[in-house]
């Protein structure tokens, strides 16, 4: 059987738009529309829901991670399983990601260890980055006994083979620019 060599560039992403959403919902939010294109000859599997969001106030950059890489294991009320979809060979797909209009971040380090938060209004952001974790195989639960190192990583982070990253500069005037 011919082997399909998948390259990290086979899944491409572009942010189509970042816009505030108005409507019947109670929570105000912004919607990021991402277009994915599979350039390879085999189906690719990707995480289609937001797993983390990180805001850099100095760069005014919001990173939306559709990936579990870098997330810590915490005592949580519920663990939300990532939604993994697949995209056919030579095809495209579109996903919409909802972002709250503001983020209240709990920094891990504060002066004197005092409880303090950072509030960031997403209307101020100048750049949106979307990272999508993907692999050329579907996600299957790893049923082997886990080694200590692996047990500290989220299962989807162990599954992920590649990550595609796309940047969108919020328009000051004129057309927005996607990289």
């Amino acid at each position: 059987m011919k082997k399909d060599d998948v390259k990290s560039s086979d899944l491409q992403a572009t942010i189509q738009s970042v816009e505030p959403v108005t409507g019947a919902t109670a929570r105000k939010r912004m919607e990021v529309v991402v277009r994915l294109s599979n350039k390879s000859k085999r189906a690719l599997h990707y995480i289609s829901d937001m797993r983390a969001m990180r805001y850099d106030p100095l760069a005014k950059r919001l990173v939306i991670a559709l990936s579990d890489e870098g997330r810590e294991i915490l005592p949580l009320n519920v663990e939300k399983v990532p939604v993994i979809r697949h995209i056919d060979p030579q095809s495209d797909a579109e996903i919409r990601i909802s972002v709250p209009e503001r983020i209240i971040k709990l920094p891990s380090q504060t002066p004197g260890g005092k409880l303090a938060f950072e509030k960031h209004d997403m209307a101020e952001m100048q750049e949106v980055v979307v990272e999508v974790g993907w692999a050329d195989v579907p996600f299957y639960k790893d049923t082997r006994p886990r080694k200590a190192e692996a047990s500290r990583k989220m299962p989807a982070a162990l599954w992920e083979q590649h990550k595609v990253r796309t940047t969108f500069r919020m328009p000051k005037s004129g057309a927005p620019k996607t990289e």
Binding site: R51, L74, N77, S91, I104
Partner: protein, 479 residues
């Protein structure tokens, strides 16, 4: 003294926290006159508790509130308090984890426990979203994720983690949610104590969470459901259970059905809990909604489900509708109730009753703009009204069946098209389309209309264009 409720903190304002809801949630957990809180000072409220009850839940709360915890995490005993931040969906931890529809209990920064590196303080920091819309695994179902979480239950789950953090007895935490880690298993077991206690207070059967499964998903009817409240006064009645079963096993287990309900829940629960509050003040309203909306709506959807069976004919569909109508004067009463509902929906503001005016405004602002609400909850009632008028006027099963078929054929293909269609592969698009067609779009005209809408909206997506073009060619070939 060990427990505080955050009312203010550096970097955020009082608008960003919801201490009022936090206190309500704690009060619901305690359900005891001995529970209270001091006035806010220094950005936090001290929680106080002099128990008069001795249940499992009250004992746990008593321990958490009235013990001075001095765990030794390796560098000697240290006093650790619980600080609760009841907040909005906007909270995010340093690693990017969003706490929307979730909650966490972060151990002190120097404890070396999981999550400690994300806590800047030496206290146990408990943060939870006070606007929960999350589903978890229901016990005894083999993992059906359809059990709603309420604020007090989420808070109590996190307090269970706090209990072991403060005693330095935190169990193993792993990244897998099925099976749940020992620590999450213990927290869910404790959570079920509160679920049982809450159910006993209401005199209903407890709905428990599966301690072996920690997975969950957003989009659950965790708020008050008007339909369930009006129809049965209970979320666990046979009527509501059977409809939920259809929803979850017939519709929500498809990609399109799941995404439909995600958006529907988002819109529905933006007004449904408030309607429940209005109903609690206006008992007449509940009775009116039962005959003037909920019963016809449930009937309509049962007929639509029955309609998807291949054996159903126009005649038998009409007969099914007639069979569901109450006899003589009761059918007229239902027709009149429906007429009042539809009139109210069109000019609700004219009502003298201030609560009903409030309801009208709520529906105008939150419900009517939603195409999901219009399609699933409003249009069916309009169709039903036309049919019951025919029924009361003496039309037979065949005539009613014909009108029902005509009305459904106009209504069904206008089903809202969710964004998830754009993210599916060609095979999935074909499968989902086949499901929608078998369940709702039985005629060629319906199918063409829906396909046209899908093409207009998302024809630029490869998978959708591929499937629709393929079908078009097949159709041309056949003709």
């Amino acid at each position: 003294m060990a427990m505080f409720l955050l009312t203010d903190a550096t970097g955020i304002g009082s608008d960003d926290l919801d201490p009022g809801q936090g206190l309500i949630d704690l009060t619901i957990i305690a359900n005891d006159t001995g529970f209270g809180a001091n006035a806010a000072a220094g950005g936090q409220q001290l929680i106080t508790y002099a128990p008069t009850l001795t249940g499992v839940v009250q004992q746990r709360l008593d321990t958490l509130v009235n013990t001075t915890f001095t765990p030794d995490y390796g560098s000697g005993p240290q006093t650790v308090d619980i600080v609760i931040a009841a907040g909005t969906a906007a909270f995010v931890l340093d690693d990017g984890t969003s706490l929307a529809n979730n909650g966490t209990s972060l151990p002190p920064s120097n404890s070396g426990l999981p999550g400690a590196t994300l806590n800047p303080t030496l206290n146990n920091l408990l943060i939870y979203d006070t606007d929960q819309n999350i589903c978890v695994a229901r016990a005894g179902t083999g993992g059906d994720i359809d059990l709603p979480e309420s604020n007090p239950v989420v808070l109590y789950h996190e307090l269970s983690h706090s209990f072991r953090i403060l005693n330095n007895t935190l169990l193993a935490l792993t990244a897998t949610c099925d099976p749940a880690s020992p620590e999450e298993n213990a927290a869910i077991t404790d959570e079920n104590d509160l679920r049982t206690d809450l159910a006993m207070r209401q005199g209903v059967t407890p709905e428990l969470r599966d301690p072996n499964i920690h997975c969950g998903s957003v989009g659950c009817d965790g708020g008050c459901c008007i339909i369930a409240t009006v129809a049965s006064k209970s979320l666990t009645s046979q009527e509501v259970r059977s409809l939920r079963c259809v929803r979850d096993h017939f519709v929500r287990n498809t990609e399109i059905g799941h995404s439909f309900f995600e958006q529907f829940f988002q819109d529905y629960y933006s007004f449904s809990p408030q309607v429940c509050t209005i109903m609690a003040r206006d008992r007449q309203l509940s009775g009116h909604l039962l005959e003037g909306w909920v019963n016809p709506l449930l009937d309509f959807w049962k007929i639509i489900i029955a309609r998807s069976r291949p054996s159903m004919t126009i005649e038998s569909m009409g007969a099914e509708f007639v069979r569901r109508q109450p006899s003589g004067p009761h059918a007229k009463a239902r027709r009149d109730a429906l007429q009042r509902t539809l009139t109210y929906w069109s000019d609700g503001g004219s009502d003298e009753n201030p609560w009903r005016a409030e309801l009208a405004q709520l529906l105008r602002e939150r419900a009517w703009p939603s195409e999901y609400i219009q399609w699933a909850l409003v249009s069916p009632v309009r169709i039903y009204y036309d049919l019951i008028r025919m029924c009361v006027d003496g039309a037979g099963a065949h005539a009613i069946g014909c009108e029902l078929e005509r009305a459904v054929a106009s209504w069904a293909p206008e089903m809202p098209i969710s964004d998830v269609w754009a993210s599916l592969s060609a095979e999935e698009v074909a499968t989902e389309l086949a499901f929608v067609e078998s369940a709702l779009l039985q005629t060629a005209r319906c199918r063409r209309r829906f396909a046209q809408r899908l093409r207009n909206r998302l024809g630029h997506i490869t998978a959708i264009a591929f499937v629709l073009n393929g079908r078009e060619q097949q159709r041309k070939g056949a003709s």
